[in-house]
Subunit: 205 residues, 2 copies
């Protein structure tokens, strides 16, 4: 029996290049999950193999700025010249349906969500060391030297923000990291502040 | 990679008759666990099938009171005329070895542990309803009518103490409850306050 019926908003974030997307995919590959993915909106160009509406909603800068003006984002950020944001509509409804909504977002955006969604769960994905992350960023090879340098500098700042998160999960093995996130979701559902209300109701029945 | 190397002290408690012992046994039946059980000391008579040094250390009242005087218990309680306590020696050493030490104790004792071990994890096992617990207490059939009545009254008071715990886990299905506790242990190891210190060290290496 699950005392907390409402879904959780799971914010998966971490320094640029840590492999947030890969961890998120491994998470969704776990059997019998109850997760839904909140697709972000971005103005950056699709990378090879990325599908509109699945990896991101790819929109123009004009469309994005219009969304900001109309308060349509749970969070948004400008990052290396592109905009990224989380459309608010659907998230609350999904949570009410008992779905766990997974947001995979940049650090800047995650801290905005923290302000607005006090009961969300914040998970910081970290590399097994700084060098591992630098290597990853260089290997990706889809961006220019200058953009890689910007990402490394950004990551170095982001490393220091771990303390603002509820959990720190090392991405040394992607399946391990995904399993640990799944354990965090199960554990969070049992937390006293999420369960005490229904527990008291259950006792009285 | 596990950022927190130290074991956790896991306090499994709950109202009298909720099935703490059964849940604890199911927990230890899960494969590849790293749990050790802290055997309690008691002055109560062994029930059928209970083994000294495994289920409890069965001691005389004199021995027990001596232990209290010499501060040898992490917690102790008098309960329906008998004493129950957790011997302090070994627990710290086991935690340092990275073992998860499981304490299955009464509510009164758990709240004493809370005072002394701020970083322990407190799990409150609850029945799927009050009636389920009353039925269990009656079915056990090892105690007299009077003792059952005392236990029911005690349980009714204990139900109200759930809010003092970190997690509430329903024992409607013993394996479900055990799995959830295992998820809590994994999640707790990833908590920022337990990992940030080693995370910073890891970054610098």
């Amino acid at each position: 029996m699950k005392l907390n019926q409402r879904g959780l908003l799971i914010v998966v974030s971490g320094p640029s290049g840590v492999g947030k997307g890969t961890v998120r995919k491994a998470l969704f590959d776990i059997k019998n999950h109850n997760l839904v993915y909140s697709v972000s909106m971005t103005t950056r160009k699709p990378r090879e193999g990325e599908i509109d509406g699945q990896d991101y909603y790819f929109v123009s800068k004009e469309e994005f700025l219009d969304g900001i003006k109309n308060d349509k984002f749970l969070e948004w950020a400008e990052f290396v010249g592109n905009y990224y944001g989380t459309p608010l509509d659907k998230i609350e409804a999904q949570l009410d349906q008992g779905k766990e909504v997974v947001l995979e977002i940049e650090v800047e955006g995650a801290l905005q969500v923290r302000e607005r969604m006090k009961d969300a769960v914040f998970i910081f994905i970290v590399p097994p060391g700084k060098q591992a992350l630098y290597d990853r960023l260089k290997k990706r090879g889809t961006e220019s030297e200058e953009i890689i340098k910007q990402r490394v500098e950004k990551a170095d700042k982001e490393f220091l923000l771990a303390y603002k998160y509820d959990y720190i999960v090392v991405n040394d093995d992607v399946n391990n990291a995904a399993d640990r996130i799944m354990a965090i979701i199960r554990a969070e559902h049992a937390k006293t502040e999420r369960t005490i209300h229904n527990y008291i109701k259950m006792l009285e029945e």
